[in-house]
Amino acid sequence: MFLGSTMFRHRWLPIFLVAPLAVLVFLFFYAPVFQAFYWSFFLERPFGGGSEYVGWDNFARVLSDPEFWKASGRTVLFMATASSLAVLVPLILAIAADRAVRMSLPARNILVWPKGIAGASIGLVFSFVFNPFVGVLAPLNSLFPGIWNPSFDGFDAYISLIVAHVWGNIPFNFVILLAGLRAIPHTIIQAGAMDGAGPWRRILDVQLPLIMPQLFLTLVLEFTESVTSAFALIDTITKGGPGGATTLLVYKIYLDGFSSYDLSGASTQTAILMVFFILVATLQFVLLGRHINYER
């Protein structure tokens, strides 16, 4: 390809243009990422108390800690349930909004509102809504005492988190999936109708297969999103409780690093979490490499 005529040749200007962002990315992305791995091999004392090389000791310590495994297990569980629900609910809404019904217009407007509301804000709202004594389910508790109490029942707390998480992640997933549905040429839907497939059948046979790229993408992004954005919800709704039942890894890292000042432990767990997500990203890359994108 003859690129020469479609690009500028300049030695310093492009470097100068890209430098500001590159420096920031180096300082605040690569340095911290490197440091997380680096520190996981050192015993770091807080408040600049010096550090000492300890080899794999930190990993041995973290990996033998049952709390780490519990938090990891909860993280994976949350990832699986929260992200699939956070894709499924917007998917159903998007399929509904794709039909020419009167409700579609207000829905398309209102369903993006959560994008403007901080996870912590809506966490506080849901902590109130789900409060066992004054919340929406309080009347249920007076009928069946103890049936709903997120501050004692880990499962209830978990449900609260998921409801709040799905709430906050509707906008992005809804918009992406709806855009995918609307990008399907109208004639393909008509062809389906001519072939005798009714609306329900077309959803399964035509629409869903054709938005596979978007479905896949939202699900992959949700994996990361569910693990990181859960922090604000946990900190405002459950504080990791009851009894650590909703302490996901990110929250545990926060507690270890900023409450217990165990920087080495926090760094080691960060490093492990990062390795996990690098694997997820690689997997995503490999899977996206397979062509689920159809030429239309």
Binding site: S5, M7, R9, L13, P14, I15, L17, V18, L21, A22, L24, L27, F28, F29, Y30, P32, A36, A96, V101, R102, M103, S104, P106, I110, V112, W113, K115, I117, A118, G119, A120, S121, L124, V125, S127, F128, N131, G135, A138, I170, P171, V175, I176, A179, I189, A193, G198, T228, S229, F231, A232, T236, I253, Y254, F258, L263, S267, T270, M274, F277
Partner: protein, 304 residues
């Protein structure tokens, strides 16, 4: 649609109605709760009908909490994040797409890799870097042995300290180390016809002229989309401002709001908190109302 399928349209309408209630329900309860007194809430719990204490609670936010001050912080963080991200991403994407360099591909990959590990995942060590921005450079000089050389030449090794913790800069700058904006602009530039570039060159435009006269005006809506996206993301940050600010007057409004909940014991003063939540959400929500088109467009672009 294709058929006159009444049944499926009714089902679709019902689903959308449930979706709207799911979104609006908590928001509505926020409003009603904010309009009652603490005592009323303790007695009656959650109430669907509005009361008359709304402005009392709003006034309490202004008199009893730091939230007004913190909203200024949030505004600084959100605006700073949005403006800086727009400028930096635009420039770097321009360099990557329109210049013939050997490193463009690698640099783009390195910038894009930032989306894999978000700040909320690497906050512990980012905190350490923010506590001394020069620490990576110091470490680099130490590790490469350059500092021995510097020490020999200037009598002391290079060691500088600069903490940006608990400053506005510290709240904003780590948010900028993100590749989404560059990606967005690059995608947009790639959709522009190459002939546009050739025509501009034929007309004698150099790199700067092309940037200012051609790309900048064409990129207006991409700028708007990225601006809305990063503004909202900056405003709604929680974990980073939580760890990066140590005093109430440097916290963002979202963090300050969460701090209104007492650590243990009593039922929190929900009317006050909800009034605060309304105040905190007004800016981003009105932004969504005004610039929804760009938000939706930005979300779609960020996917491609």
């Amino acid at each position: 649609m294709v058929e006159n399928a009444r049944s499926i349209n009714i089902v679709a309408s019902l689903i959308l109605l449930v979706g709207i209630i799911y979104i609006l329900g908590p928001l509505y309860l926020t409003l009603t709760t904010a309009s009652h007194s603490y005592e009323f809430m303790l007695q009656n719990g959650l109430v669907w009908s509005p009361g008359d204490e709304f402005f009392v609670n709003i006034r309490r936010i202004f008199t009893e909490t730091s939230i007004p001050r913190q909203m200024i912080n949030s505004l600084i963080v959100a605006l700073g994040d949005a403006i800086a991200t727009c400028v930096l991403s635009f420039l770097s994407a321009y360099a990557i797409v329109y210049f013939r360099t050997r490193w463009a591909g690698v640099v783009f990959a390195l910038i894009l890799a930032t989306v894999i590990l978000p700040l909320d995942m690497r906050f512990v060590t980012t905190y350490q870097v923010a506590s001394n921005v020069f620490s990576p450079i110091n470490a680099l000089l130490d590790a490469t042995g350059l500092n021995d050389l510097i020490a020999a030449l200037f009598g002391a090794p290079f060691h500088m300290e600069w903490s940006i913790l608990n400053t506005h800069a510290g709240l904003v700058i780590p948010l900028l180390a993100h590749g989404m904006g560059t990606f967005l602009f690059r995608q947009f530039f790639l959709t522009l016809p190459r002939d546009l570039f050739k025509a501009a060159r034929m007309d004698g435009a150099g790199p700067i002229r092309f940037l200012v006269d051609i790309l900048l005006p064409l990129s207006r809506s991409t700028f708007a989309s990225l601006f809305v996206l990063t503004f909202l993301s900056g405003w709604t940050q929680y974990l980073w401002p939580l760890v990066a600010s140590s005093t109430a007057d440097m916290q963002t409004a979202v963090v300050g709001l969460a701090r209104l909940v007492p650590d243990e014991g009593a039922v929190p003063d929900y009317p006050l908190i909800m009034a605060g939540a309304i105040l905190v959400s007004i800016v981003p929500l009105s932004m969504i109302a005004l610039l929804q088109r760009y938000l939706v467009q930005g979300l779609i672009l960020s996917e491609k």
